[in-house]
Amino acid sequence: MDFISILSIFVLACFVGYYVVWSVTPALHTPLMAVTNAISSVIVVGALIAAAAAGAPAAKWLGLGAVVLASINIFGGFAVTERMLAMYKKKDKPGTGKGGK
């Protein structure tokens, strides 16, 4: 991919992010931070590439270190988000699965 295609993806994703994040209800801003934390650890992709590559031992160990750090974040971030979201309950549980508003 050339630079311009990548830049296009980036700019469009910024717009998507802008509108999606404004639609997040303020009550869920803390889970939002926890989950953005978890997904920004997609940087683990770079860490895995570095850890798997042969040829440069220093780069490999840096990569393995980054894999550990990013994994803490991925597992911890998603788990703590799940834990928080499980606590949000509606009044009296009327049984109608429809939520929202």
Binding site: G17, V20, V21, L28, V45, F78, G100
Partner: protein, 501 residues
């Protein structure tokens, strides 16, 4: 080797991962869809990780990859797997998983801001490590040109990723120490700090330019990268130490944004769509949250970053000269009696409630009031708690249904109909000085119109303490206000006792 020759299916897999992350955030638009959203996030991460593991499996050094012309070569490569490295990678993931999962399970909800700050620091450090690894072994990342030099754009992206990652790391560590109480929340003001900060930032940019334009662009060449890393660590530290505890919600949101931009910069280096999309999402998310927080405090983003808020509030002159005005003291019995007879009660919780761990007792109180036919609502200010939405989580933990919890602008008009406004652990967010007193440090901040309620109960430990902003509050001295001076949890428990009698 052609740069970034990727199998289209691999690109599609990363794109799907990116879309899953968008859906993860979209799910958070309502608590009802949020858990499905979180599952999308996990799915996206699994796709990204599995794709990377398959396409970048560690291979024995005597095997030469033939590329991915047909899409099934990974099966052939599997035979040549470098088993030791593969086990090391899986072990690294397992170690991270154990640490992450135990932390997530054990952490108290009151400590969520610290946890998030700690997680940010890890993303930042991971970005630095990946950037340095790319610098040492650019071939693995496909960013080497034929002359054995790293591509110029890749050098910019890589060094930016390292710099932003390093700032995120050291800034988040300071934020963590301040939030966790290991470090005083008071701002630490160095003389000429703006000059120092701008100087160091400028130096980083110059060094990046020097590195990009230098002839030494081979693997591990150009020690400038090391200097960029060290200076960026320093600037993250310098940027956060002058910011006071009251502004930490903004700082945590801002670092959230930085961690996203760091991931995006690494995504540019790797030409990886999942990383770029995620970085953009997280970057915008953090930026929007910082904006919301600043607006809720009526502070400009620049003034928060410049720091120093709360440093001079203690000695602002009014401290000693504060006039003694008459105020009324109420008792738990008064509160119980008046709320039992009331029709509408609005509860305004603040961080003091969380500190006193009063949320469970408070939920019991609302249950008892509901038995008496009272209509109870919770009102939450955007800056209540230590991070955006923190108070909502704390109430959810105490099993308060989320449809009884309202945001500032949704409930503010209802105070005129409210019989009782019950303030517990909040202070600045109900201070009318924000509307009337132009000289007040919190002037312009949106606040609850509690003064319109018929009766106000204000739980406070003593009359001495003040809010974060260190300003006196007229609500204490209003005719309809009764001060309940005690520990929040004890007071609510006493009210509960009188309600059951």
């Amino acid at each position: 080797m052609e740069a970034h020759a990727v199998n289209p299916w691999v690109a599609v897999a990363y794109l799907i991962a990116g879309i899953c992350f968008i859906l993860a955030l979209r799910g958070l638009s309502s608590p009802a869809t949020s858990r499905a959203g979180n599952r999308y996030g996990m799915l996206g991460m699994t796709i990204a990780v599995v794709t990377t593991l398959l396409t970048h499996a560690p291979l024995a050094s005597d095997y030469v990859s033939v590329g991915y012309a047909h899409g099934y070569e990974w099966l052939v490569e599997f035979v040549h797997l470098d088993v030791v490295t593969a086990i090391e990678i899986l072990a690294a993931i397992a170690v991270g998983a154990v640490i992450g999962l135990t932390t997530a399970r054990r952490i108290a909800m009151t400590a969520m801001p610290q946890l998030v700050a700690a997680f940010h620091s890890l993303v930042g450090l991971a970005a630095v490590l990946v950037g340095l690894a790319a610098w040492l072994n650019p071939g693995a990342f496909g960013i080497l040109d034929d002359a054995g030099q790293i591509f110029l754009p890749s050098r910019i992206e890589m060094s930016l990723g390292i710099a932003i990652g390093a700032i995120t790391f050291s800034g988040s560590v300071i934020a963590f120490l301040k939030l966790n109480g290991n470090m005083s929340g008071a701002p630490i003001l160095l003389p000429a700090r703006h000059v120092i900060n701008f100087g160091v930032l400028g130096a980083i940019i110059l060094l990046i330019a020097a590195y990009v334009l230098s002839g030494a662009g081979g693997p591990g060449e150009g020690m400038l990268i090391v200097w960029i890393t060290l200076l960026a660590f320093a600037v993250g530290f310098l940027l956060i130490i002058p910011i006071g505890g009251a502004d930490m919600p903004v700082v945590v949101s801002m670092l959230n944004s930085y961690s996203g931009w760091a991931a995006a910069a690494m995504g540019f280096t790797l030409h990886n769509t999942a990383m770029i999309i995620t970085g953009a999402l997280v970057g915008s998310s953090g930026a929007i949250l910082s904006y919301i927080m600043c607006k809720a405090m009526n502070r400009s983003f620049i003034s928060v970053i410049a720091g120093g808020f709360g440093a001079d509030a203690g000695g602002a002159g009014e401290g000693g000269a504060r006039e003694q005005r008459p105020w009324k003291r109420g008792s738990a019995e008064d509160a119980a009696f008046l709320m039992k007879e009331a029709e509408n009660v609005i509860i305004i919780p603040g961080y003091g409630m969380a500190v006193a761990q009063a949320q469970h007792a408070l939920r019991e109180m609302t249950d008892l009031l509901k038995e008496h036919g009272v209509n109870v609502k919770f009102a939450i200010h955007p800056v209540a708690g230590r991070m955006p939405g923190h108070m909502n989580v704390l109430l959810a933990e105490a099993s308060v249904p989320y449809d009884e919890v309202f945001e500032l602008e949704d409930i503010n008009s209802e105070f005129a109909q409210a019989d009782v406004a019950f303030i517990i652990g909040a202070n600045d967010v109900v201070n009318p000085a924000a509307k009337t007193d132009k000289s007040s440090p919190i002037y312009g901040m949106p606040v609850f119109d509690v003064d319109k309620a018929k009766t106000i109960f204000f739980i406070k430990r003593s009359m001495g303490g003040q809010g974060y902003a260190g300003v006196d509050n007229d609500v204490f001295y209003m005719d309809q206000t009764m001060m309940l001076l005690a520990d929040a949890k004890k007071m609510v428990e006493e009210i509960n006792k009188s309600l059951t009698d």
